[in-house]
């Protein structure tokens, strides 16, 4: 499956994309959608052959959050991007389509504070039990309370 075949297949069969998918770099395709259409696009991609969810990255753009689903078939990696409003970063969970997503979503929730609607187990993932609620370390505006020294 060369890059062009995958691109062509996505353009043909995947619906719900808000932008024209383009080949940014060799074997890297970028696409964009809105939060409510994420699941339809993901299952469309899965049927189009991208059955391996490599990772979910979360980015804090300052004025909005961005969740990027990296789905791959063989060497070609499709990065599906959705942006979420700063106040209510909410997106439906992808565990239905990709079971392994439960891990990546918990990481994004823990460190970036992005809510995944319908997530089977939203317990804290990385931070220790005594971590103060509502503190999301990877956000740009977050400063460690005591300069990162002793916390307890």
């Amino acid at each position: 499956m060369t890059d062009e075949d995958v691109l062509a297949k996505i353009k043909a069969s995947v619906l719900g994309l808000t932008e024209e998918p383009k080949l940014a770099r060799p074997r890297r395709i970028t696409a964009r959608t809105t939060p409510d259409k994420v699941l339809t696009v993901l299952s469309g991609l899965k049927d189009a052959g991208c059955r391996h969810l490599s990772a979910i990255s979360s980015v804090d753009l300052g004025d909005a959050f961005e969740v990027i689903y990296h789905v791959s078939v063989g060497g070609v990696l499709v990065s599906l991007r959705t942006s979420l409003p700063k106040a209510t970063p909410l997106v439906p969970t992808a565990t239905g389509v990709f079971p392994v997503a439960v891990l990546y979503e918990r990481e994004a929730h823990d460190l970036m504070g992005i809510e995944f609607e319908g997530h089977p187990d939203p317990r804290p993932l990385l931070l220790y039990e005594g971590w103060p609620e509502g503190q999301y370390p990877l956000r740009k505006d977050w400063k460690p309370p005591t300069g990162g020294e002793k916390h307890a």
């Binding site: 990385l126 220790y128 990162g148 002793k150 307890a152």
Partner: protein, 159 residues
């Protein structure tokens, strides 16, 4: 006489327990390669033990992460006296490259009293053996002075 025999025995069979308090496991694999054929510390009487109850020397690797903090404390409390702690590498000393990160407390001595620091990132196995030998010398000195009280705190040395 009995006391000298006890100190001799402690120096001849120091059993170690490895505890990874959030390290990047480079130090762990170097400590592990101590018991393998090339360095083989069993010829010095060192055995790697699984439970804190059987161990004399606790080798702590890595900067103490917040989550490992009270577990490290609990492990240290479970060990029978006389017990010694070796902090491994730059992370064990002051948190190394991870100093100042939000989930890291810093050096091991912020949580439990440390007897010997082994420098390096990761320290080579022969440096670790040198660390264990230094602990054995400390055992001798402690026996002469009756316990650990005589030792100067690192801060006093610095002052």
């Amino acid at each position: 006489m009995l006391k000298r025999l006890a100190t001799w025995a402690r120096k001849k069979s120091p059993w170690i327990l490895l505890f990874n308090s959030g390290a990047c496991n480079a130090c762990d694999i170097e400590v592990l390669s101590l018991i393998t054929p090339r360095f083989d510390v069993e010829r010095l009487g060192v055995l790697a033990k699984g439970t804190p109850r059987h161990a004399d020397i606790l080798i702590v690797t890595g900067p103490v992460t917040l989550k490992q903090m009270e577990r490290l404390q609990r492990i240290y409390d479970q060990m029978p006296e006389p017990k010694y702690v070796v902090a491994m590498g730059a992370c064990g000393a002051l948190g190394g490259i991870f100093k100042g990160l939000y989930h890291v407390v810093g050096g091991v001595d912020k949580v439990i009293p440390v007897d010997v620091w082994v420098g390096g990132c990761p320290p080579r196995p022969d440096e670790i053996i040198d660390g264990v030998v230094k602990v054995l010398q400390l055992m001798d000195d402690d026996a002469k002075h009756g316990g650990k009280g005589w030792r100067q705190k690192p801060q006093e040395v610095a002052a």
